[in-house]
Symmetry: C2
Subunit: 332 residues, 2 copies
C-alpha cells in the first residue's frame, strides 16, 4: 500500500471533498452529483460570478478559495486531471449572476478544452461567459512549448484580486480585462528536491539525484527546465527572483505582491527563510514588497519543492487584494 492515508486511491478525491464540505459547511456546499463546490455567501454588489477549477492534488486550490471575496464556485477534477466540461457547465449555471460568469482557467490543454465546451453551452443558454487564462509559469516560457506557459501559483493572487474587484460591482468585460492585465504582470518559478508520490504507484513520480534540484518544475511533475546543483538558499532565491524580474521588467518603485508557495512537503521554516531572501533581493532592486503570502497555497501532492510568484500591482489591484476574504484556506 502506498504511503497515502486513503480508503482507496479511487475514492481519495471524493472522500476528501465530503470531509471538506463537512468541515466548512458554514462557508460552502458540495454538489456531489455534479461535482462542484459553491459558496454560501457573497457580496450583494457582485454582478459576475467567479468560477475556477482544475485537477485535484493542488489543494487548497481551488475549493479552498470558494467563499466570500473570492470564488463563487470551484470544479475539482480527479488528481492532476481537468474537471469534465459538465461540471463546469453545471457549476456555472448554479452560480451565474445577472452579468454572467467569469472562468479563471489555468493554461493546460485539458482545462482549456473543458472550460471551452462549457462556455459554448452557456452561451447557447444565453448566459454571458468570459475567460481569464492564467499562464504564469516562467519555466514553460519557450518556443518549444506550443501550448504556452502553464498556469500555477499566480492563480491564487489573481483570484483574490478579481474577487475583490467583483465585489465592487465590476462587469464581465471589466473583470476579464483586469484578469488579462494581472496575468500579464505575474510570473512564477518552481524548484523541487524530491518528486511527489504518485498515488496509484506509491512511488516518487520522478527521481532527483542527491545534491541536485529540478529547476522550473511544473505542479504535476512536468519535466523541469533544467537540473541544477543544490545551492545555498540565498543564491537559489537570487537566481529565481532575478529571472522573474527579468521577465517582468518592473521599474524601480513598482509594488509587488509575492507568494512563497510550498508544493507539499517543504516545511514552513524553509518557506519563511525563502521569503526572507526574496525580500532582501526585492529591497536591493528597489521593488516595494507591498503584500506577501507564505505557505502551501497551490501544491503538487507531497512534492518537496517551492515556487516563487511575483505579481506587479497597480494601486487599484492592491485595494482589491485587501478586500475581505472568507474562504477555507484564506481569510482576511
Amino acid at each position: 500500500m502506498a504511503p497515502y492515508f486513503v480508503n482507496s486511491t479511487d475514492t481519495l478525491v471524493s472522500d476528501a471533498l465530503a470531509g471538506f464540505a463537512r468541515a466548512h459547511a458554514d462557508l460552502l456546499s458540495l454538489d456531489p452529483d455534479h461535482g462542484f463546490v459553491t459558496a454560501r455567501a457573497a457580496s450583494p454588489h457582485r454582478r459576475v460570478a467567479l468560477l475556477s477549477g482544475g485537477g485535484a492534488g493542488h489543494e487548497p486550490m481551488h475549493a479552498g478559495y470558494v467563499g466570500r471575496g473570492m470564488l463563487d464556485a470551484a470544479c475539482p477534477g480527479r488528481v492532476f486531471a481537468s474537471p469534465h466540461n459538465r461540471q463546469v457547465y453545471e457549476g456555472s449555471l448554479a452560480v451565474a449572476r445577472a452579468e454572467g460568469v467569469l472562468h479563471i482557467v489555468k493554461n493546460y490543454t485539458g482545462d482549456r478544452i473543458n472550460f471551452g465546451i462549457a462556455a459554448e453551452r452557456l452561451a447557447h443558454r444565453g448566459i454571458p461567459c468570459a475567460r481569464v487564462l492564467v499562464d504564469d509559469d516562467l519555466a514553460s516560457d519557450c518556443e518549444q512549448i506550443a501550448a504556452g506557459r502553464r498556469g500555477t501559483g499566480g492563480t491564487v493572487l489573481i483570484e483574490r484580486i478579481l474577487g475583490g474587484a467583483a465585489d465592487t460591482g465590476l462587469g464581465l468585460a471589466e473583470l476579464q480585462q483586469l484578469g488579462v492585465r494581472l496575468a500579464a504582470r505575474c510570473r512564477t518559478l518552481a524548484v523541487a528536491s524530491a518528486a511527489h508520490t504518485a498515488p496509484t504507484l506509491g512511488k516518487p513520480a520522478f527521481r532527483v539525484a542527491a545534491g541536485e534540484l529540478e529547476y522550473g518544475v511544473g505542479i504535476h511533475g512536468e519535466r523541469a527546465r533544467s537540473t541544477i546543483r543544490h545551492a545555498p538558499l540565498a543564491r537559489l532565491v537570487e537566481r529565481m527572483t532575478g529571472e522573474l524580474l527579468g521577465a517582468l521588467a518592473p521599474r524601480p518603485g513598482t509594488a509587488a505582491i509575492t507568494l512563497v508557495n510550498g508544493l507539499g512537503a517543504v516545511t514552513p521554516l524553509e518557506l519563511y527563510a525563502v521569503h526572507g531572501e526574496l525580500a532582501r533581493v526585492l529591497d536591493a532592486q528597489g521593488i516595494v514588497l507591498a503584500r506577501s503570502l507564505v505557505g502551501d497555497y497551490v501544491t503538487a501532492l507531497d512534492m518537496r519543492g517551492f515556487s516563487l510568484t511575483v505579481l506587479f500591482a497597480e494601486p487599484a489591484d492592491l485595494a482589491y487584494y485587501d478586500a475581505p476574504v472568507h474562504t477555507a484556506a484564506l481569510r482576511w
Copy 2:
C-alpha cells in the same frame, strides 16, 4: 546536501524567524537578540499575558499563534530543542501584564526545566507567573513513561480557548485552572507512514517498512507505541478515535472540538478524508462535532503522518474558542 532548502542547517531557524517577522510585520515583532516574538496588538481587557514556546520544527506552532486573541509571545528553540530559560524570562518580562504571565508548556523535560527556571526568576522580580502543562498525547500514557504524556496537537486548541478567555479579562488563577481543565479533557493520537528528514543528516530519522505505520508516534519522531499494518483510512480512524474516546469517556451529547493535523508531508486531500471519517465516527457515538480544524497546525518537520485531537468542551469553552483571532497561522 540534504533535501532541505537552507543556507545552512545552523541558520535554518534564525533565517526562518527573520523571514517570518518580515512577512508578518503588521502582527508581530521579533527580538532577535533575546529570541522571542511578541504581538503588536492585544485586547485592552487582557490582564494576563499568554506565552508559549518550544523547539522549532513544529511550525506554525508556536510563533504562528502570536497575535490578537492568542499568544502575547512565543519563544522558539532550535529544531526539536527547548528554548533557553533566558528566552522565556526575557519574553515574559517583555509582555507581562498587571496580573502577570501564564506559561503554556508542552510536557517535555527540557521545556519544563527551562520554563521552570524562568518562572523562578520572574517570581524573584515580583512578576506573578503560572503554568498550564499540556500533556495530550495518548500514546505516551503508560506507566513506563515516568515523564507523563507528551504535549502535542492539543496545544493549539488550548491556546485558542485560553486566548479567548484572557480577552474577557480573567485573572491568572482562573486562566490557569481553565487550562488545567482543558488539558484534562484533551487527547491526541498520531500515526506516520514515513519519518521526517533529519536536517543535519539529510536522511529519514527512522525507517518505516513498506505497508506499515508507526502508530502513536511523537512530534519529534519519538518511538511509536507500536508498528501496525497500513489499513484503509476508515478502519484506522475508527481505531484512533475509539482510543481517544475511550480515554476521555464523554457522555453522548458532549460537544467536541477536533483537530485533524498534518505532521508535514501529508496532503490536504488526506487530511480532509480523515476529517470525514472522524465526523462519521463521532456522529455514530452521539458526540456533537461542535468545532473543527483541518490542516498543518503542529508539525514534525516533513513527517508523513497526521494526528487526531479531540477536546471535549463546555459551552463557555466554545464561546472563548469563537472569539476573534488574528495571528499568522489562524484567523477567525
